[in-house]
Symmetry: C2
DNA sequence: GTCAAATTTTTTGTATACAACAGAGATCAT
DNA sequence: ATGATCTCTGTTGTATACAAAAAATTTGAC
């Protein structure tokens, strides 16, 4: 899994964006990044090109690359699509899951139970991810799984904000239980609608998200485009 | 909309892949492409990086880039996802469309009628695209619209194969009519299921597609990876 | 002191140079 | 003749160089 320099740089920068090292709206200076990573500008540019194709950074001609800052509206749109893709995966999983899929889902589900009980948000966050990935796999649609993983990854920072809301973790786990039940029972439509509700950001959860976003904004996360 | 060299190159190569100038499995030699377009290797590489991030080409470390060749299975998976995304757009459009959206849908729909009547597959192909784009817009989810356009574009060559099947054009148009009706009536679930059936590649249509694929393969389209 | 034009500086975009690696062919031993 | 190793060529990956454009700064007029 070596991956050449540009590949590692791509992951590195992508990670920096997702974890917040590079803030939304921030300008990504090529020379600066090159110095930071101890390489020349060439691989940096290649990494930025890839990130721009994914939609994580925006390259403005002759004016450099900036970290894309999706407004609350765009974030909502992304969650709306994510909900539909996940519910699709769930519906397919209900119809197509194998014994191995079942084992993987149950395994990750019980891990979630454990971290939810111990109120460890960080480890719940991780286990939750594994749980969802298990469903993607069980859909037996490789392309769908890839799309889900990519979008899930992109929404990571905002998901994280959501988990901070009081009791969200336990509610989330209860929803998981209902989803598992539907999938294992082979009830595609139940799995679909339960996953949609689980992922969608509606009503209170939307306002919670927006308020968390603006709070972050206020603490100087950027967003100002000169 | 000037776009720097690498931007134009990206579109150029992407187009070449979609239209078949570059065949699936074909190796994309950087120096060769550079000579062909009269530029240096640098912008060529940047274009290839972007295409690899989209998933159109695969960059094997130290072994060059090749045009990705999705097997029949992967193509089927992509159609399955496309069907779901389109039906989602249709469902949203049924609930959210404005007067302008309605006008755009009806306009493109009647264009389709015209080209279907005159049996002009090429112009039907184009008008059909406009029709579907109008639905994406009417969903009022910009992110969803982008995803749909990207996937639609990627499936272009295979859609084209499908249209060759006898009477497909007229059947397609009749399906459009039912979809328009559902959307304008605000019936989200009808729009969803009708669009899903319209886009999905099931039963006969799947075998037709596979047979067309293998016919193309037989005429020397490549796919051999050394 | 303020605003605008010109100049300098910085930064991007492309080309070229060079080093490291992969694949093909040649050489050699058996 | 066959198999393995070695060499050699071709291609990729990274660094550097240079040109053009945009931002910053200075200069000058009022």
């Amino acid at each position: 899994m070596a991956g050449n320099t540009f590949h590692k740089l791509r992951d590195e920068i992508e990670n920096g964006i997702v974890t917040g090292t590079f803030e939304p709206g921030e300008r990504l200076d090529e020379a600066q990044l090159a110095a930071r990573f101890g390489v020349s500008r060439t691989p940096i540019r290649e990494a930025l090109m890839q990130l721009s194709a994914i939609g994580l950074v925006e390259i403005r001609p002759r004016r450099g690359a900036i970290v894309v800052d999706p407004g609350p509206n765009r974030i909502f749109e992304m969650f709306e699509v994510m909900a539909e893709l996940e519910s699709m995966a769930g519906a397919l999983a209900a119809r197509r899951h194998t014994e191995e899929d079942k084992a993987a889902i149950l395994e990750s589900h019980s891990r979630c139970e454990h971290s939810a009980a111990s109120e460890d948000t960080d480890s719940y966050y991780y286990d939750n991810e594994v749980f969802h990935y298990a469903i993607y796999e069980a859909s037996h649609n490789g392309f769908l799984a890839e799309q889900c993983v990519a979008l899930h990854r992109r929404l990571r920072p905002y998901r994280r904000l959501q988990l901070r809301v009081r009791n969200r973790m336990k509610v989330s786990f209860r929803e998981h239980a209902a989803i598992v039940e539907a999938i294992l029972a082979g009830d595609a439509e139940a799995a679909r609608s339960r996953l949609r509700d689980h992922v969608a950001v509606q009503g209170d959860r939307f306002s919670d998200l927006v308020s968390n976003l603006s709070r972050r904004e206020a603490t100087g996360a950027g967003g100002q485009r000169r």
